[in-house]
Protein backbone atom coordinates (compact mmCIF):
# COMPACT_ATOMS: atom_id res chain seq x y z
CA UNK A 1 0.00 0.00 0.00
CA UNK A 2 2.42 2.72 -1.20
CA UNK A 3 -0.12 5.55 -0.90
CA UNK A 4 -0.90 4.64 2.70
CA UNK A 5 2.77 4.50 3.63
CA UNK A 6 3.21 7.94 2.07
CA UNK A 7 0.38 9.32 4.19
CA UNK A 8 1.94 7.75 7.29
CA UNK A 9 5.29 9.30 6.49
CA UNK A 10 3.68 12.74 6.02
CA UNK A 11 1.69 12.34 9.25
CA UNK A 12 4.80 11.37 11.16
CA UNK A 13 6.86 14.23 9.77
CA UNK A 14 4.04 16.66 10.52
CA UNK A 15 3.56 15.34 14.06
CA UNK A 16 7.23 15.35 15.04
CA UNK A 17 7.96 18.58 13.18
CA UNK A 18 4.97 20.24 14.87
CA UNK A 19 6.17 18.92 18.21
CA UNK A 20 9.67 20.29 17.70
CA UNK A 21 8.21 23.66 16.68
CA UNK A 22 5.89 23.72 19.70
CA UNK A 23 8.79 22.92 22.04
CA UNK A 24 10.96 25.66 20.56
CA UNK A 25 8.07 28.15 20.75
CA UNK A 26 7.39 27.28 24.41
CA UNK A 27 11.04 27.81 25.34
CA UNK A 28 11.29 31.11 23.45
CA UNK A 29 8.04 32.42 24.97
CA UNK A 30 9.16 31.46 28.46
CA UNK A 31 12.53 33.20 28.04
CA UNK A 32 11.00 36.34 26.54
CA UNK A 33 8.08 36.65 28.95
CA UNK A 34 9.80 35.70 32.23
CA UNK A 35 13.43 36.66 31.69
CA UNK A 36 14.96 39.27 33.95
CA UNK A 37 12.47 38.98 36.78
CA UNK A 38 14.99 39.02 39.62
CA UNK A 39 14.18 38.93 43.32
CA UNK A 40 17.16 40.70 44.85
CA UNK A 41 16.16 43.95 46.53
CA UNK A 42 17.67 47.00 44.84
CA UNK A 43 17.80 49.18 47.97
CA UNK A 44 17.20 48.99 51.68
CA UNK A 45 13.51 48.80 52.63
CA UNK A 46 12.66 50.24 56.03
CA UNK A 47 8.87 50.02 55.98
CA UNK A 48 8.11 47.37 58.62
CA UNK A 49 5.34 46.49 61.10
CA UNK A 50 4.79 49.04 63.85
CA UNK A 51 6.16 47.48 67.02
CA UNK A 52 6.54 50.70 69.01
CA UNK A 53 5.20 50.42 72.54
CA UNK A 54 5.03 46.61 72.52
CA UNK A 55 7.17 45.11 75.30
CA UNK A 56 10.10 43.11 74.00
CA UNK A 57 12.50 41.01 76.04
CA UNK A 58 15.02 38.82 74.29
CA UNK A 59 13.10 36.87 71.69
CA UNK A 60 9.72 37.33 73.35
CA UNK A 61 7.42 40.02 71.99
CA UNK A 62 4.48 41.15 74.07
CA UNK A 63 3.19 41.03 77.61
CA UNK A 64 5.32 38.45 79.46
CA UNK A 65 2.21 37.53 81.48
CA UNK A 66 0.04 36.86 78.39
CA UNK A 67 -1.88 33.60 78.86
CA UNK A 68 -1.22 32.31 75.36
CA UNK A 69 2.17 31.98 73.64
CA UNK A 70 2.66 31.63 69.91
CA UNK A 71 6.07 30.17 69.16
CA UNK A 72 7.28 30.72 65.62
CA UNK A 73 10.13 28.75 64.09
CA UNK A 74 11.56 30.84 61.29
CA UNK A 75 14.67 31.20 59.14
CA UNK A 76 15.81 34.64 58.02
CA UNK A 77 16.39 33.33 54.47
CA UNK A 78 13.05 31.55 54.19
CA UNK A 79 10.80 33.27 51.59
CA UNK A 80 7.65 31.67 53.01
CA UNK A 81 8.58 33.18 56.41
CA UNK A 82 8.86 36.52 54.63
CA UNK A 83 5.32 36.08 53.27
CA UNK A 84 4.12 35.38 56.82
CA UNK A 85 6.10 38.24 58.38
CA UNK A 86 4.89 40.79 55.86
CA UNK A 87 1.33 39.51 55.51
CA UNK A 88 0.17 37.99 58.80
CA UNK A 89 2.57 39.05 61.53
CA UNK A 90 1.62 42.77 61.53
CA UNK A 91 -2.06 41.86 62.09
CA UNK A 92 -1.15 39.39 64.85
CA UNK A 93 1.01 42.02 66.52
CA UNK A 94 -1.77 44.62 66.30
CA UNK A 95 -4.75 42.49 67.31
CA UNK A 96 -3.30 40.09 69.86
CA UNK A 97 0.18 41.11 71.00
CA UNK A 98 -0.35 44.84 71.43
CA UNK A 99 -3.60 44.04 73.26
CA UNK A 100 -1.59 41.97 75.76
CA UNK A 101 -3.50 38.76 75.02
CA UNK A 102 -0.76 36.81 73.28
CA UNK A 103 3.01 36.87 73.35
CA UNK A 104 5.14 35.72 70.44
CA UNK A 105 8.35 33.78 70.95
CA UNK A 106 10.70 33.38 68.00
CA UNK A 107 13.05 30.44 67.54
CA UNK A 108 15.49 30.81 64.71
CA UNK A 109 16.63 27.97 62.48
CA UNK A 110 19.40 28.19 59.90
CA UNK A 111 19.01 25.50 57.25
CA UNK A 112 17.48 27.34 54.30
CA UNK A 113 20.48 29.07 52.70
CA UNK A 114 24.05 30.32 53.07
CA UNK A 115 22.91 33.54 54.79
CA UNK A 116 20.77 31.73 57.35
CA UNK A 117 23.47 31.28 60.05
CA UNK A 118 24.50 34.96 59.86
CA UNK A 119 20.86 36.07 59.98
CA UNK A 120 20.19 33.90 63.01
CA UNK A 121 23.31 35.12 64.84
CA UNK A 122 22.47 38.77 64.17
CA UNK A 123 18.87 38.46 65.39
CA UNK A 124 20.06 36.61 68.49
CA UNK A 125 22.59 39.38 69.08
CA UNK A 126 19.85 42.00 68.65
CA UNK A 127 17.77 40.07 71.20
CA UNK A 128 20.49 40.78 73.75
CA UNK A 129 19.58 44.44 73.28
CA UNK A 130 15.82 43.66 73.21
CA UNK A 131 15.53 44.73 69.58
CA UNK A 132 15.33 41.39 67.82
CA UNK A 133 11.95 41.93 66.22
CA UNK A 134 12.84 45.23 64.55
CA UNK A 135 15.94 43.64 63.01
CA UNK A 136 14.04 40.48 62.06
CA UNK A 137 11.38 42.53 60.26
CA UNK A 138 14.04 44.55 58.45
CA UNK A 139 15.83 41.37 57.38
CA UNK A 140 12.62 40.00 55.91
CA UNK A 141 11.79 43.29 54.21
CA UNK A 142 15.20 43.15 52.51
CA UNK A 143 15.52 39.41 52.05
CA UNK A 144 17.40 38.18 48.98
CA UNK A 145 17.40 34.91 47.08
CA UNK A 146 17.58 32.09 49.62
CA UNK A 147 20.08 30.17 47.53
CA UNK A 148 22.57 33.05 47.59
CA UNK A 149 24.62 34.64 50.37
CA UNK A 150 22.52 37.81 50.27
CA UNK A 151 23.10 39.02 53.85
CA UNK A 152 26.42 40.78 53.51
CA UNK A 153 28.04 42.64 56.40
CA UNK A 154 27.33 45.91 54.61
CA UNK A 155 23.61 45.12 54.29
CA UNK A 156 23.42 43.89 57.88
CA UNK A 157 25.11 47.07 59.09
CA UNK A 158 22.83 49.27 56.98
CA UNK A 159 19.75 47.52 58.36
CA UNK A 160 20.98 47.59 61.95
CA UNK A 161 21.44 51.36 61.70
CA UNK A 162 17.69 51.63 61.04
CA UNK A 163 16.82 50.04 64.38
CA UNK A 164 16.45 52.86 66.92
CA UNK A 165 18.63 52.35 69.98
CA UNK A 166 20.53 49.37 68.62
CA UNK A 167 24.28 49.49 69.31
CA UNK A 168 25.61 48.27 65.97
CA UNK A 169 29.18 47.55 67.10
CA UNK A 170 27.93 45.57 70.07
CA UNK A 171 25.53 43.75 67.77
CA UNK A 172 28.37 42.50 65.57
CA UNK A 173 30.54 41.60 68.55
CA UNK A 174 27.69 39.63 70.16
CA UNK A 175 26.80 37.89 66.88
CA UNK A 176 30.17 36.15 66.98
CA UNK A 177 30.05 35.28 70.66
CA UNK A 178 29.93 31.82 72.23
CA UNK A 179 26.74 32.76 74.07
CA UNK A 180 24.91 33.42 70.81
CA UNK A 181 26.28 30.22 69.25
CA UNK A 182 25.09 28.23 72.25
CA UNK A 183 21.62 29.78 72.12
CA UNK A 184 21.42 29.11 68.39
CA UNK A 185 22.23 25.44 68.93
CA UNK A 186 19.48 25.18 71.54
CA UNK A 187 16.88 26.12 68.89
CA UNK A 188 17.81 23.10 66.79
CA UNK A 189 17.17 20.81 69.75
CA UNK A 190 13.85 22.55 70.48
CA UNK A 191 12.82 22.22 66.83
CA UNK A 192 13.43 18.49 66.99
CA UNK A 193 11.43 18.29 70.20
CA UNK A 194 8.52 20.19 68.59
CA UNK A 195 8.73 17.99 65.45
CA UNK A 196 9.43 20.98 63.23
CA UNK A 197 10.00 19.86 59.64
CA UNK A 198 10.13 23.20 57.87
CA UNK A 199 9.76 26.94 58.26
CA UNK A 200 7.69 28.75 59.22
CA UNK A 201 6.18 26.41 61.81
CA UNK A 202 3.95 27.54 64.66
CA UNK A 203 3.39 26.07 68.09
CA UNK A 204 0.65 27.35 70.39
CA UNK A 205 0.96 27.14 74.17
CA UNK A 206 -2.48 27.37 75.76
CA UNK A 207 -3.20 28.79 79.24
CA UNK A 208 -3.00 25.28 80.73
CA UNK A 209 0.60 25.05 79.50
CA UNK A 210 -0.04 22.45 76.80
CA UNK A 211 1.86 22.90 73.54
CA UNK A 212 -0.01 22.32 70.27
CA UNK A 213 1.60 22.12 66.85
CA UNK A 214 -0.48 24.72 65.02
CA UNK A 215 0.84 24.13 61.51
CA UNK A 216 3.37 25.31 58.98
CA UNK A 217 3.51 27.66 56.02
CA UNK A 218 1.92 31.04 55.55
CA UNK A 219 -1.83 30.38 55.60
CA UNK A 220 -2.96 33.95 56.24
CA UNK A 221 -4.50 35.45 59.36
CA UNK A 222 -7.74 33.45 59.69
CA UNK A 223 -6.31 30.14 60.96
CA UNK A 224 -4.35 32.10 63.57
CA UNK A 225 -7.45 34.03 64.65
CA UNK A 226 -9.43 30.81 65.06
CA UNK A 227 -6.69 29.07 67.06
CA UNK A 228 -5.83 32.06 69.23
CA UNK A 229 -9.46 32.96 69.96
CA UNK A 230 -10.17 29.36 70.92
CA UNK A 231 -7.10 29.23 73.18
CA UNK A 232 -7.98 32.54 74.83
CA UNK A 233 -11.57 31.41 75.41
CA UNK A 234 -10.49 28.10 76.92
Amino acid sequence: MPARAGVRRRTLVLALGGAALAAALAVVLSVVLAGGKGSTPASVVTDIADLSGIPQRGLVLGNPLARVTLTQYVDTSCPVCKDYESGTFPTLAREYVRAGKVKIETRLLDFVGPSSPRGRALVLAAARQNRAYQLLELLYANQGDEARDWLTDDLARALARHVPGLDVERLFADAGSAAVASRAASFDAQATEDTVRGTPTFVLTTPDGVRHLLGAGSPGIEPFRRALDKALAG
Binding site: A19, A23, G217
Partner: protein, 145 residues
Protein backbone atom coordinates in the same frame (compact mmCIF):
# COMPACT_ATOMS: atom_id res chain seq x y z
CA UNK B 1 10.12 -6.31 25.94
CA UNK B 2 6.59 -6.94 24.69
CA UNK B 3 4.33 -4.18 23.44
CA UNK B 4 1.93 -4.88 26.30
CA UNK B 5 4.72 -4.31 28.82
CA UNK B 6 5.73 -1.10 27.07
CA UNK B 7 2.12 0.08 27.06
CA UNK B 8 1.79 -0.60 30.78
CA UNK B 9 5.08 1.19 31.44
CA UNK B 10 3.91 4.28 29.50
CA UNK B 11 0.63 4.19 31.41
CA UNK B 12 2.46 3.96 34.75
CA UNK B 13 4.81 6.83 33.89
CA UNK B 14 1.87 8.94 32.66
CA UNK B 15 -0.09 8.22 35.83
CA UNK B 16 2.90 9.25 37.97
CA UNK B 17 3.36 12.38 35.82
CA UNK B 18 -0.30 13.28 36.17
CA UNK B 19 0.02 12.94 39.95
CA UNK B 20 3.12 15.15 40.14
CA UNK B 21 1.64 17.77 37.79
CA UNK B 22 -1.63 17.77 39.74
CA UNK B 23 0.29 18.36 42.99
CA UNK B 24 2.35 21.19 41.43
CA UNK B 25 -0.83 22.76 40.03
CA UNK B 26 -2.51 22.55 43.43
CA UNK B 27 0.50 24.13 45.15
CA UNK B 28 0.56 26.89 42.54
CA UNK B 29 -2.99 27.88 43.42
CA UNK B 30 -2.49 27.30 47.18
CA UNK B 31 0.82 29.04 47.94
CA UNK B 32 -0.12 29.08 51.64
CA UNK B 33 0.73 25.37 51.65
CA UNK B 34 4.38 26.07 50.82
CA UNK B 35 6.99 25.49 53.53
CA UNK B 36 10.80 25.65 53.45
CA UNK B 37 12.10 22.18 54.24
CA UNK B 38 15.54 20.69 54.80
CA UNK B 39 16.80 19.38 51.48
CA UNK B 40 13.51 20.23 49.78
CA UNK B 41 14.11 23.93 49.24
CA UNK B 42 11.35 26.52 49.38
CA UNK B 43 9.64 25.81 46.06
CA UNK B 44 11.07 29.13 44.87
CA UNK B 45 10.81 27.74 41.35
CA UNK B 46 7.04 27.57 41.77
CA UNK B 47 6.93 31.26 42.64
CA UNK B 48 9.36 32.48 39.98
CA UNK B 49 8.35 34.32 36.83
CA UNK B 50 9.17 31.17 34.85
CA UNK B 51 6.41 29.20 36.61
CA UNK B 52 3.81 30.87 34.42
CA UNK B 53 3.65 30.88 30.61
CA UNK B 54 1.06 33.07 28.82
CA UNK B 55 -0.83 33.47 32.09
CA UNK B 56 -1.11 29.74 32.68
CA UNK B 57 1.01 27.91 35.28
CA UNK B 58 3.58 25.62 33.64
CA UNK B 59 2.26 22.87 35.93
CA UNK B 60 -1.12 23.10 34.19
CA UNK B 61 0.53 22.50 30.79
CA UNK B 62 2.17 19.47 32.37
CA UNK B 63 -1.13 18.25 33.75
CA UNK B 64 -2.82 18.60 30.35
CA UNK B 65 0.07 16.85 28.57
CA UNK B 66 0.21 13.92 31.01
CA UNK B 67 -3.58 13.53 30.90
CA UNK B 68 -3.42 13.49 27.10
CA UNK B 69 -0.74 10.78 27.22
CA UNK B 70 -2.94 8.70 29.53
CA UNK B 71 -5.89 9.08 27.13
CA UNK B 72 -3.71 8.22 24.12
CA UNK B 73 -2.36 5.10 25.81
CA UNK B 74 -5.92 4.02 26.45
CA UNK B 75 -6.82 4.64 22.81
CA UNK B 76 -3.66 2.91 21.55
CA UNK B 77 -4.16 3.37 17.79
CA UNK B 78 -1.00 3.82 15.63
CA UNK B 79 -1.80 7.53 15.41
CA UNK B 80 -2.02 7.65 19.23
CA UNK B 81 1.48 6.19 19.51
CA UNK B 82 2.85 8.84 17.18
CA UNK B 83 0.99 11.50 19.16
CA UNK B 84 2.55 10.23 22.42
CA UNK B 85 5.99 10.39 20.79
CA UNK B 86 5.26 13.95 19.63
CA UNK B 87 4.13 15.01 23.10
CA UNK B 88 7.23 13.34 24.57
CA UNK B 89 9.43 15.28 22.16
CA UNK B 90 7.91 18.61 23.19
CA UNK B 91 8.09 17.59 26.85
CA UNK B 92 11.70 16.47 26.78
CA UNK B 93 12.87 19.71 25.15
CA UNK B 94 10.86 21.88 27.55
CA UNK B 95 11.86 19.76 30.57
CA UNK B 96 15.54 20.11 29.66
CA UNK B 97 15.03 23.86 29.45
CA UNK B 98 13.31 23.86 32.88
CA UNK B 99 16.18 21.88 34.43
CA UNK B 100 18.70 24.39 33.05
CA UNK B 101 16.54 27.23 34.40
CA UNK B 102 16.45 25.70 37.89
CA UNK B 103 20.18 25.02 38.04
CA UNK B 104 21.56 28.05 36.23
CA UNK B 105 19.04 30.90 36.31
CA UNK B 106 16.63 30.58 39.23
CA UNK B 107 19.40 28.94 41.27
CA UNK B 108 16.90 26.86 43.19
CA UNK B 109 15.57 23.38 42.74
CA UNK B 110 11.97 22.28 43.06
CA UNK B 111 12.17 18.63 44.01
CA UNK B 112 8.86 17.58 42.42
CA UNK B 113 9.68 19.54 39.25
CA UNK B 114 12.95 17.59 39.02
CA UNK B 115 11.13 14.30 39.51
CA UNK B 116 9.03 15.29 36.51
CA UNK B 117 11.68 16.97 34.35
CA UNK B 118 14.65 14.69 34.97
CA UNK B 119 12.84 11.42 35.69
CA UNK B 120 9.38 10.97 34.26
CA UNK B 121 9.68 13.00 31.05
CA UNK B 122 12.89 11.29 29.84
CA UNK B 123 11.26 7.95 30.71
CA UNK B 124 8.25 8.89 28.62
CA UNK B 125 10.51 9.94 25.74
CA UNK B 126 12.28 6.57 25.69
CA UNK B 127 9.12 4.49 26.12
CA UNK B 128 7.11 6.65 23.71
CA UNK B 129 9.81 6.30 21.05
CA UNK B 130 10.01 2.52 21.52
CA UNK B 131 6.24 2.24 21.03
CA UNK B 132 6.14 4.60 18.03
CA UNK B 133 9.13 2.93 16.34
CA UNK B 134 7.09 0.43 14.25
CA UNK B 135 5.12 3.32 12.74
CA UNK B 136 8.37 5.18 12.11
CA UNK B 137 9.93 2.12 10.48
CA UNK B 138 6.94 1.74 8.17
CA UNK B 139 7.09 5.40 7.24
CA UNK B 140 10.86 5.25 6.76
CA UNK B 141 10.48 2.25 4.43
CA UNK B 142 8.47 4.50 2.17
CA UNK B 143 6.23 3.56 -0.79
CA UNK B 144 7.93 0.15 -1.17
CA UNK B 145 6.56 -1.04 2.15
Amino acid sequence: MTDRTLRLAVAAVAAAGTGVAAYLTWVHYHPEALVCTRGGGCETVQRSGYAVLLGVPVAVYGLVAWSAVLALVAWDAPAARVAVAAIALVAVVFAAYLVVLQLAVIDAVCVWCMVNDAGLVPALAVLGWLRARPAVDVARAGPEA
